[in-house]
């Protein structure tokens, strides 16, 4: 073999090692071989510079990090399905399964997951429907909510009314507060004496500070309001 041929072979062999010289995983003997060659070979020295730049550029490129927890949960689900299949089928757990139609298991799992999702959705809709039926998300002062004991009149007073004025009006109408005010400012009033509710109601309605008053007992005028 001629000297030129040996040099050519050495050049090709060393050139092939350059990437691992760059990433520093090359063995000591090969590293010395590359060191010796690049001292005398300009093309390899140039290539080394290119590969170093390529390596540094790749290393410097930003990498995204992902949270593995959700992926791990899905892996567990697959393993559960695999084990369930193994316990019901001939393949023992932890052994490779040579299933000729692996998509069947996944299809069954997908259908089961969809069925569960549909059931959950239906249950959620039912709960929402029931919730709407039993307790509306709005209310009025005439709603048939449970009445406080003794309530005969519901009334709304001016927000500027003082405690003294309120007490005076209630004394005059022979009423007392049994509940309220609600969020809407409604008071439930009970009668203090034998005065009919209609008479108390009429007395209340004489005052400008009474914005609204109605009887809660089924009297002919109980539905009227101020």
């Amino acid at each position: 073999m001629t000297s030129n041929r040996r040099t050519e072979i050495e050049h090709h062999e060393v050139s092939a090692l350059i990437p691992w010289y760059v990433n520093e995983t090359i063995g000591e003997r090969d590293r010395q071989r590359v060191d010796a060659h690049i001292n005398i070979c300009v093309p390899c020295r140039d290539d080394l510079a290119v590969q170093r730049r390529l390596y540094e550029t790749i290393e410097a490129q930003p990498a995204l990090d992902y949270m593995p927890v959700a992926s791990l949960k899905r892996l567990h689900a697959r393993l559960d399905a695999l084990q369930a299949e193994a316990t019901s089928g001939p393949s023992p757990a932890g052994q490779p399964i040579n299933n000729p139609t692996p998509w069947r298991g996944w299809m069954a799992a997908s259908i089961a997951a969809m069925a569960v999702a549909v059931a959950l959705l239906a249950a959620d809709r039912w709960v929402q429907f029931e919730s709407r039926q039993s307790r509306p998300n709005y209310w009025t002062v005439t709603n048939s909510v449970p009445r406080p004991p003794g309530e005969v009149i519901r009334a709304v007073f001016s927000p500027t009314i003082t405690l003294v004025e309120l007490q005076t009006i209630l004394d005059e109408a022979q009423l007392r507060i049994v509940s309220g005010p609600t969020e809407a400012g409604v008071y439930s009033l009970a009668s203090n004496a034998t005065l009919p509710a209609s008479a108390s109601l009429a007395l209340l309605r004489q005052h400008s500070t009474v914005r609204f008053a109605e009887g809660t007992s089924p009297e002919p005028d109980s539905g009227s309001s101020r």
Binding site: A16, N23, A49, Q61, D65, P68, S71, I97
Partner: protein
């Protein structure tokens, strides 16, 4: 499964794999968490979609779970796992017949100055996406993952000569395509065929 802190990563991986072979799901979880970041970063260089990345990683660990018993320490556990991930990824990328098309769409014809230093990274992505997948994987295993020649031969289940040849062709094509890497603004990038 909690292993003593004094164990080296290799010993720890071997112990975890032995436990997995015995059906220990906690050991699988530990191994999964210790490899997820590395694999996800590597795979994200080939596909921007996390669902693809997750599928490859989870497929890899399904194989790890099923074959842990068969591991005979012929290589490091890390090399074995990355080898499984390599084959899984290769199948996945080949299955996605639109992979090459998607790559081209992701990196449309450049209109930037290819000699600009700031564009080297973009040009590199462009060039890497045009390499045949085996060449690209070989180059990434060396330059992104930092694997030795012998490790890559084990991972890819190829002779060392094949790894060298793939790397040689990848370098040649990138050099042709990325003149800025050589520091010379002489030529416009040529197409990789």
């Amino acid at each position: 499964m909690i292993l003593p802190a004094k164990n080296s990563p290799k010993e720890r991986d071997s112990a975890l794999l032995a436990a997995i072979g015995a059906g220990d799901r906690r050991a699988l979880e530990e191994l999964y968490l210790s490899y997820h970041r590395r694999l996800a970063r590597f795979l994200s260089r080939f596909t921007p979609r996390y669902e693809n990345i997750e599928e490859i990683i989870n497929d890899t660990f399904m194989v790890v779970w099923q074959n842990a018993k068969e591991f005979r320490n012929a290589s490091q556990v890390s090399t074995w796992i990355i080898g499984i991930a390599y084959r899984t990824a290769l199948k996945s990328f080949r299955r996605q017949k639109n992979h090459a098309v998607a790559s081209l769409e992701d990196y449309p014809e450049q209109t930037v100055d290819p000699t600009s230093q700031t564009e080297v990274s973009d040009w590199l992505k462009h060039g890497l996406n045009r390499l045949p997948i085996e060449q690209r994987l070989t180059l990434e295993l060396a330059y992104h993952m930092g694997h030795s020649l012998e490790e890559i031969a084990t991972i890819t289940d190829c002779p060392v000569g094949t790894v060298k040849a793939r790397m040689f062709h990848a370098r040649e094509k990138l050099r042709q395509y990325l003149p800025t890497l050589s520091g010379g603004p002489s030529d416009l990038p040529a197409r990789i065929g």
